[in-house]
């Protein structure tokens, strides 16, 4: 009888953000669907009420079914035989329940059978699902690949595939190959066009493909013979019904064991081109990845939430030296930091979701009619922010998920090291979040230009200008000081105009920006709801200040020449 939505009041707080009014209006095209669909909202309040009610269902399913199933899913995992994958029985049950509740295509518009939900309530679902079972969130979130078909495919492809996704057919994105991981330009899987048949064929191998035996695959393949870089890659959709792809093996992973990670062999597999040739990596994968990164942010936040709760519950129950261990400062400090990091990453997640909602929805409106110049500016503004916040948030939330899972085990002491407690699974599940969909190091690479071009600083300025209750002014003053340090940091690192020096310190710059941004977001959360966020805001800003000061000291006391001590001597090899 647990409900993972209603037991976390933070969700309703984020759902009620003022920007939602504009988002929902755009998403619902002024509620035009009410004429055609009896489940479409009538107005803003009605839409918000629907999100809330549907999220309650998601929360109930996660609390009553997916979470209790998670342990067995972790133990049993999927199996492979004759090239086909079978999910763990409980994974299949999760899918069946969500499918029956028609929660498999939340984001897609009603004409394809979806619920037409904005990103915010959709990601709240992802957050909740992940708290229940991170490995299941992987399978469920891959419905996002349908978004790529929607954005770049033609109308026939949309009509062929999206309704199937809505009805519960799962998807995969087949990008990685043995020699193409972080560097996707090296993808070799071959796509050949048979002119007589007017048909594309795929041949080659993909590796580390999550949910690789999905019904519908998006495949990145080399369509231009003789090319070696990104410009020779195109995006294809492969339908399992046409055959030609077998699962050679599934990986034995450390965590997210419920999600099958497959090695795929493509043997003359028929496929359809999505969008234009040569745009596969340059445009489509980039868009796909941004969506996926948001999904991993939600997954990370869900794991953080689960870890924080596990640690808290244990610390309340576990007694040593005659009292509950939560009474000891060493323990409650850890717990407060865990809660603060969880809340911080969640606040960044939903801020990013709103940016994505704004620009994506405007972009979609632009498919139907010409946008006004004001709307175009609005779209550009939010698109840039989404672009800046996605890598920052993905890096931050996934690192925090790891730290929180680590601390959850620490609070459990010796018991946490045993397989008997949930925190052990969370620790293993968390470990992938800062690796896949771009490692934290690659998130820094994507985020650093928003440090140097000032996107973060500009947004920080906007936060600083927002009205605040006098009680919270002292906390804001800390953030103002942190911002001054950050500005100095940026100056110091960019002044020499040395690429490598910038790369070396990039992590420290991006992290500092992250601390300030998350601090401001929690500050404004607390401004609206002191009871819910004041503690996290205080604790997080104190934590963040310490981190920024550390970065500041490290950077300002370092010289370009120091790099030599870090750099390997490659000449000897």
């Amino acid at each position: 009888m647990a409900n993972f939505y209603t037991d976390t009041p933070q969700f309703r707080h984020y759902l009620q953000h003022p920007l939602m009014k504009r988002i929902v209006e755009l998403k619902e095209r002024n509620y035009a669907d009410r004429e055609t669909y009896d489940y479409a909202p009538i107005d803003f309040e009605d839409a918000m009420d629907s999100y809330d009610r549907v999220l309650e269902v998601v929360g109930e399913i996660c609390g009553d079914i997916i979470d209790p199933n998670a342990e067995e899913v972790d133990h049993n995992g999927p199996t492979v035989a004759d090239g086909r994958v079978t999910y763990a029985p409980n994974t299949q049950e999760n899918l069946d329940v969500l499918n029956r509740a028609e929660l498999m295509g939340m984001r897609f518009s009603r004409k394809y059978g979806g619920l037409n939900f904005p990103m915010v309530p959709y990601m709240i679902s992802a957050d909740i699902v992940s708290r229940a079972d991170a490995s299941f969130q992987n399978i469920w979130m891959l419905q996002d690949c349908g978004e790529t078909i929607y954005e770049f495919g033609d109308e026939t492809q949309r009509n062929n595939y999206i309704p199937r996704v809505v009805k519960g057919e799962t998807m995969s994105m087949d990008l990685t190959e043995p020699d193409a991981g972080s560097d996707l330009q090296a993808v070799m899987l071959k796509a050949t066009y048979n002119e007589q048949e007017n048909q594309w064929y795929l041949n080659g191998v993909k590796r580390f493909i999550t949910n690789g035996d999905a019904e519908i695959h998006l495949v990145l393949a080399r369509s231009e013979e003789g090319t070696k870089d990104a410009r020779g890659l195109s995006m294809f959709v492969y339908d399992k019904r046409s055959g030609g792809v077998n699962v050679r093996r599934i990986e034995n992973k450390m965590g997210i064991k419920g999600a099958p990670t497959c090695e795929l062999v493509f043997k003359n597999a028929k496929a359809e081109l999505v969008g234009s040739r040569r745009m596969g990596l340059i445009k489509y994968v980039m868009s796909l990845m941004n969506g996926a990164r948001l999904g991993i942010m939600a997954q990370s936040v869900g794991i953080s939430e689960a870890a924080t709760r596990e640690a808290y519950n244990y610390a309340v129950e576990r007694r040593q030296f005659g009292k509950a261990i939560i009474a000891f400062p060493a323990v409650y400090e850890m717990l407060a930091n865990m809660r603060a990091k969880t809340d911080a990453s969640r606040s960044v997640l939903y801020e990013t979701c709103r940016f994505v909602d704004m620009y994506k929805t405007l972009e979609d409106v632009g498919r139907e009619r010409k946008l006004t110049p004001e709307e175009k500016d609005e779209m550009k503004y939010y698109s840039r922010l989404a672009d800046a916040f996605t890598p920052l948030g993905k890096g931050m939330s996934s690192e925090y998920a790891n730290q929180n899972a680590y601390d959850a085990i620490q609070i459990h002491g010796g018991s946490g090291y045993m397989k008997d407690y949930k925190c052990e699974r969370l620790y293993r599940d968390a470990r992938i979040t800062n690796i896949y969909e771009g490692t934290t190091q690659l998130q820094v690479v994507a985020a650093i230009r928003h440090v140097t071009t000032g996107t973060y600083l500009q947004r920080i300025g906007e936060y600083a200008a927002m009205p605040l209750t006098p009680e919270l002014e002292p906390l804001k003053n800390v953030l103002v000081k942190m911002t001054e340090m950050y500005e100095k940091l940026v100056d110091v690192v960019t002044a020499p105009k040395d690429e490598e020096y910038l790369d070396f310190h990039a992590r420290r710059l991006v992290e500092s920006a992250g601390h300030i941004i998350a601090g401001y977001l929690l500050l404004h959360d607390a401004n609206k709801n002191q009871e819910l966020f004041r503690r996290s805001a205080e604790v997080y800003v104190h934590y963040g200040r310490n981190e920024v000061v550390k970065n500041y000291n490290f950077v300002t006391q370092s010289r370009i020449d120091d790099l030599a001590y870090y750099k390997p001597d490659l000449t000897e090899q």
């Binding site: 009896d38 909202p41 629907s50 269902v57 329940v97 029956r100 509740a101």
Partner: protein
């Protein structure tokens, strides 16, 4: 092959989450302090009906509930999960009913609904725990009944085969239709609400609810007739008012005892006289001895 199924369901106080204010000083249930929920075993019963509907497309499920106005929630909960229709039996004259008066009222409503193949109900409600209403309705309608059902194994136009869960094992029995079955909590739990049905039916209201609440979306009730929930009074089901409610209830509550566990599992006493006297006084006061 399609079936007309009636689900008997009750809104009950959530006695599983009893807080401090659950009982009033006079020992009666403080309904206001307990959240009103769908009686758990009625949900198990509804799942059996939904499953039959899924197996036999075209089947229709009507949820029937008796209670105050807010019991319309039960009808909506049904619609959110896939039932087709709902009837709220509500009237001041139904108030204070024991199981006899309740089963009389329900059976009259069933007669008014008309043609049915199967009635399903939960084994018992968590507030009264009598398990009498289902069997009594069957008796009043003169149809066979199967109690403690765990699963409908087979159903066709002539008969139904049901697995029963008993104390000492499992029993599979058959009976002709129409019939009434009461479903055990050990049956599989009810499916979650469906996201689209939830949005489709969330504004469904009884006439009384529409009058009481100041509704913003008044036009939708003429555009979508299915949003109007049926409400029946004593007169609507042509029931005899004397047999309804308090006057139709021979059950008289003689005494209600409010049992409150004040102490934790054990109590530590010393051997001094004051402590022993204290214990004696306590045991006499709560009538454990004397």
């Amino acid at each position: 092959m399609a079936f007309n199924i009636i689900v008997l369901a009750k809104q009950v106080p959530d006695t599983r989450n009893v807080g401090k204010d659950a009982m009033k000083a006079d020992g009666t249930v403080n309904r206001a302090a307990l959240p009103a929920i769908f009686n758990p075993e009625d949900l198990n019963a509804m799942e059996q009906a939904l499953d039959i509907k899924e197996r036999f497309p075209g089947s229709r499920i009507t949820v029937l509930t008796m209670g105050p106005g807010r019991a319309a929630d039960i009808l909506r909960e049904g619609l959110f999960r896939g039932t087709d229709d709902g009837v709220l039996l509500t009237d001041r004259a139904f108030a204070g009913a024991d199981t006899l008066a309740t089963s009389y009222a329900l059976s009259m409503a069933v007669r008014k609904i008309g043609a049915y193949d199967l009635i399903v109900a939960g084994r018992q409600a968590i507030d009264g725990d009598t398990a009498q209403v289902g069997p009594q309705v069957a008796e009043k309608l003169g149809i066979p009944q199967i109690t403690y059902a765990e699963n409908v194994e087979e159903i066709n136009k002539e008969k139904i085969r049901v697995k029963r869960r008993l104390d000492n094992g499992v029993e599979v029995v058959e009976c002709p239709l129409p019939a009434l079955i009461t479903v055990n909590g050990s049956a599989r739990s009810c499916r979650p609400r469906n996201a689209k049905l939830l949005q489709r039916y969330k504004h469904a209201k009884t006439v009384t609810e529409r009058q009481v609440q100041n509704l913003d979306y008044i036009d939708i009730y003429s555009i979508h007739p299915y949003l109007n929930l049926t409400e029946w009074s004593v007169a609507d089901v042509e029931a005899d008012p004397v047999q309804c409610g308090l006057s139709g209830s021979p059950t008289k509550v003689k005494k209600i005892e409010n049992v409150v566990f004040q102490a934790k599992e054990s109590k530590r006493l010393t051997d001094n006289d004051a402590d022993i006297d204290e214990l004696m006084r306590e045991l006499i006061e709560n009538h454990t001895i004397g």
